[in-house]
Symmetry: D2
């Protein structure tokens, strides 16, 4: 118990799957961590797995600013002031800047009280501000804010509903975000294939975020398989994937050896640069496919299958090819646009683009992260995304298994009823 008297207090409330989602523990931890004390005024534990729990809590701190801070930090756990008022908004006076006390969003579902009504915030993502336009509340990035915008400030009239991982849902159930290389990958792959089918059944798109390791590890052929099975709607990547893919396609023999040997061919950089030169001479990937310069490979299949792809530039790019979006602000916007209606994201061996995508997603879109390096999986899972499912394994072998699993999954559903059991390949 703290030594300082705790003179400032407030009453907060929360409801939901407070135990299952660990909100209750997080709320208590936060109060103690911030040097406060608490008293449970009322707690009703949901009697069954389906019932909500309800909490009313008095929190006490030593100073008024400490109380303010604490209340702000409790908000992401679904803990809101008991007395309800409208959200405070202020008008900005400078492009790209907002008042000091602006509310910075989490990626959790958020409601804002406007004119007495709770309105769900649109385009939910983390690290955004909420702009009120008419009766709507919309997430905007700082740089998108314009002078004159009405921005939500302070803490009143804001409610966050932390995502709850339903243990009984077949797709998500029991896939935890525990990170271990000592697990049976084949079991996990089956679950991911099922998750892909369920995503499609919900009318949502599937996005892959892929690094060049997909090509290096021999996963390209299996990724092409997935594209042909209709399992890939969106491909988010960078310059390197496209270049390595083209390099393999254009310099078959020598890179065949490379892929066989698995070791970097000294002098192989020539092929790399020639591939870039060839694509740029053809005016980019689509041109290179049209003119027959590129005949095989992941990017060729994307063009043919109408997969939406966005290649974001990075400081380590060679070239880059003309398709690469070199301005990262523009690249972020293009990524975000491509992620609309995406219901599942699979990140393959790319921490850079994976974190980029993670920043843009609301908490309810599950992310599967596959990498042979446990540190990458941990880092992606740590970004506050409770939705991340980590898999520490070889990406090439993983894609081999996934292509088989998706094909089997589709096969077993063939001739089945429409709707619930539509095979993954049928987009419409």
């Amino acid at each position: 118990m703290p030594d300082t008297p705790q003179l400032h207090s407030a009453v907060v409330a929360a409801e939901g799957h407070l135990v299952d989602s660990q909100q209750l523990k997080a709320i208590f931890d936060k109060v103690i961590e911030r040097g406060g004390t608490f008293e449970v005024l009322h707690f009703n534990l949901g009697r069954t797995n389906d019932e909500f729990s309800k909490l009313t809590l008095r929190v006490n701190t030593a100073t008024a600013p400490a109380l303010e801070d604490l209340l702000e930090e409790l908000l992401p756990f679904g803990c809101h002031p008991f007395d309800v008022q409208d959200a405070t908004t202020r008008v900005t006076d400078q492009d790209g800047c907002v008042p000091d006390d602006f509310y910075s969003t989490t990626n959790q579902r958020t409601h804002v009280r406007i004119g007495g009504t709770w309105v769900e915030v649109e385009r939910q993502r983390m690290d955004a501000v909420v702009v009120v336009v008419g009766g709507r509340a919309i997430c905007r990035k700082l740089r998108e804010v314009r002078a004159g915008d009405r921005v939500v400030c302070g803490l009143e009239g804001i409610r966050v509903t932390p995502e709850f991982r339903d243990r009984t849902r077949a797709d998500f159930g029991f896939m935890t975000n525990e990170i271990s290389s000592e697990r049976r990958v084949e079991a996990s792959v089956g679950r991911i294939a099922a998750l892909m089918r369920h995503t499609r059944q919900r009318g949502k798109k599937i996005a892959f975020v892929a690094g060049p390791v997909v090509v290096h590890t021999g996963g390209g052929a299996y990724f092409i398989d997935l594209i042909r099975q209709g399992a890939v709607d969106v491909l988010l990547s960078g310059n390197a994937l496209a270049v390595h893919d083209a390099e393999q396609s254009l310099f078959g023999t020598s890179l065949g050896v490379d892929l066989e040997a698995g070791t970097p061919v000294v002098g192989g950089h020539r092929h790399h640069m020639r591939a870039i030169n060839a694509i740029n001479a053809a005016g980019g990937i689509t041109g290179a496919v049209a003119s027959g310069v590129l005949k095989t490979g992941v990017m060729v299949e994307c063009v043919r299958a109408g997969v939406t792809f966005v290649l974001a530039g990075s400081i380590r790019d060679d070239g880059p090819i003309v398709d690469t979006v070199t301005d990262i602000v523009q690249a972020q916007d293009r990524y975000a646009e491509a992620l609309q209606d995406v219901g599942l994201v699979i990140v393959l061996s790319t921490m850079l683009h994976g974190i980029g995508v993670g920043n843009m997603l609301p908490a309810w879109v599950p992310v599967v992260c596959v990498d042979i390096n446990p540190a990458v999986v941990t880092k992606l899972a740590d970004r506050g995304s409770s939705q991340t499912i980590g898999l520490v394994t070889d990406v090439g072998l993983f894609l081999h298994q996934l292509a088989i699993s998706v094909a089997e999954d589709a096969g077993s559903k063939k001739g089945g009823a429409v709707g619930e059991d539509a095979p993954l390949g049928s987009k419409s």
Copy 2:
């Protein structure tokens, strides 16, 4: 011995520290790897550590294209055609594109024969083309080539001199690029401090390439120490370092706790976004320092000490702050410009920017790469940079040791003679 008759042959020559730099083995390996055979026509091993060795070798292959390929792959090992001709050049007819048989550079010292004279290539870097302008030969990136440029093509008249790591040089000697976490860091730190002093003595600059982990691990205070000691000329990084640094500076208390606990504060993203908002409202870092918004931190010290800094954008950036160069082509140019006259690069926990910088450097600029993840160190060392010295350790503790070691190194040289023994801090 291959079964196919080896009818096509050529005679190549090489000279240098062929044994010490492992060129001899690499040359033999490459011939066998490509299915060829070889015969040593002449080999003279340097009798002492200081003498060059000389090799004349006949290589044989089954087909003419295989011979051409092989000769191209031998070039980076300093193996050039025995008969000497001028380099072939062709004029480009399209901006950003070059003839198919263009010569793609390595990062090794390269000479091109123009009008009977061997000319050293300027601005040497890897993955570039060589443009001949008057009697000069200059590295250009593909995207910098303009229609009408004369570009070196084919293999004739090109000589590569692989960097040789002199075992007797005090600075470099015995620091291998072997990667292990099971070594005594304190010994390595002393060597790096000496390497820094020698760099300064040669009249060269020292560049740090740093990720935000420098701040997370508590290394910020020690890095500031190094800046104040005059040990940092150039800082290459991204948006995240500046933002985390500002966040710590602006929200001392709460981030003090964060730094103490070492764990992400849920809700800490607010501080992150507020730091961005504050900097951008002040018009950027320099403005924020001038106006007193930012009073402490790595970036403040950079501004005060006149350290050249470039922040490159990336797809995962929050904000970004207005100082961040969001277009990566422009960012690469700014990085490359800042690296002029740099004689030593120290990469601290950032694979992304580290690889970016590695791509830009000639082979004779040593790179020290410090990371707690051996995979990152290995990856940077694998980029064909024989000059990389890897150190697997905790970056915060490393900076603590380095700041002490640089101070001691300077102290022990105080009052010493000018020139050879000038302390690190004295830039001029």
Copy 3:
């Protein structure tokens, strides 16, 4: 909700810090995971941080064996049958073997009901059986059981009290078992020094479990510092630590170079073997110290300071020296004996011995695990020991910091009152 009717049910109860220790969530998860359903009959949430919570729960399953299984799995979470009976015991009829339905212990505090009285189990450790002797209940390893022993079987009359990590305790507070290399080590080191002092204040011993990396990374000198400061009571290790330590002591020059260079000296194995030969010729470590063969090093200091050390053999041992306990059953017994009265364990870069020790400890002895490889820290933390505090950092630099921190800690307490603030060095 499961499709199968849930006809079999039981009522269980639990009390404690059910929310803070995440027991509540774990209980619910386990029921659902096993295909059961639950209904909360009664739940009283502790109103303050200090009050216990109480739960009464009805669980339902489809079959009787499933119910039995579920109840068994709920036991480790402190969930016991509502109706209380004495524990069932059976007499064994074969040495080293027990009845099929024997109760296998966790490392959590356990009580067994004997003759209507709840008796705390002695020598608590995981993977043991409980033998009832007179009115006492004692943990025994399988191999220690003798024909005629009365062994606790089934589930009745057993209560487990999961360890609760008190967030307000100064020593443990806010040191989580989160694993990250991106944290400030210096802050953690201060906490560990405090934890060491508190351990000593509670009259408990401090044990180090150390691998040879302690010597390789130059940590030996600092570890010696800790021994001299009286901070080491027990050293548990293997043959390699003693041999590498002796090697460094005996072949100073050459190994000085080795330690400087940080790279394995080819031919260094000679020194290794000569060290073993020298120690064994002297009749072991104590003999080698007495006869002056060994003059410096970690083992010499252990002998001088009266530190209890046990070296356990392993399949990869060279030699081994005669001090090494080559039979692992005997080595485990010696380890376990040395761990009596130990209140804090610090594991330095040795997964093998670290796991060995982890298996022997009750859950209430905190374990600090320091390793540069996050996978090792994760693995030790995953052994079900909620008490593990992980630190991913360089072991050599860590020991340097720890020696400083312990010295400062002792210094700041000098002249202070007896008892609560006794400096770490004062064992009595």
Copy 4:
């Protein structure tokens, strides 16, 4: 160039593939590293890939002891004194101890000159002493030496022939010990299958050294496949593999779930201990198979197929089961015995047993090391075994691919001629 005059000199000679095996560079490096200088008196480079190179070298040092040290360190690189004498031997006067200047072996092929004749050392392994018995020279471990044995001392009359990796051999060719997770595993698996067949063709055995991860990652079924295909002659492991295997076999359902979920079942330790109890009650693995207690699993298949298995104890063992050899000296002897006539060793996810086995092998037995953790692969490769082929990948998926690849390899050879192309399964 060193400042001290180099007054002491000796002439040494070496012959072999000095360039390809990097001996030449290593010899020069070692001289400089030890502060010496050298002069090449004669060097003849093999003119083709098949010809040996020959070197005569004068080395100079400042002191006589430094010269002695240097000559000793040059020995492992095949560099021997030019003037040839018989090896010096001394008679030991104490069991387990030898004279101070004893020669400590490497794992390279070694000859000793006895009575004017060069005799090849038998049972070659590293860290041994050479005992002369009659006209024979045999490796003995220190602990095996008995008073009265004649032990080789000093440096005269000893020649080491470093293993040379022949680039043109189909099996070994181009499989380097470079460690990377960014390679195509499927290509490597094909090579390993070929290596297995070639091993069998040479009349040699294949040994697997396996950790329990084989079971955790679902690789058990595929490993059983390999046993049934006759691809496993020897299995070296520890207690854990056998226990986890039995646990899976005995508690199918619940462990089925475990293997599916890939996460540790809290409470799963019961099954672990029950498996141990069941095996020990049956008198061990063979008894448990005979009595039908164990019906499936890796160990069952080993018993049925007559695979030689040795389980070595370790400090972290639970139980252990009675089959485990708890004394590690005895376990090492049993391992070494099982490794006689083994021509290929495949290490699956076990650093402990892998290093143990590596210590016992001569340099000409190739070792394939498969682990998802690159640090383990690096560590095994660093043990001075140039023969180690590292593969960073998922062990479960690797075994799946290997079982397929071995089956295909056998299939494609069916009906073929005897001898050279005998399928892998035919042991005789």
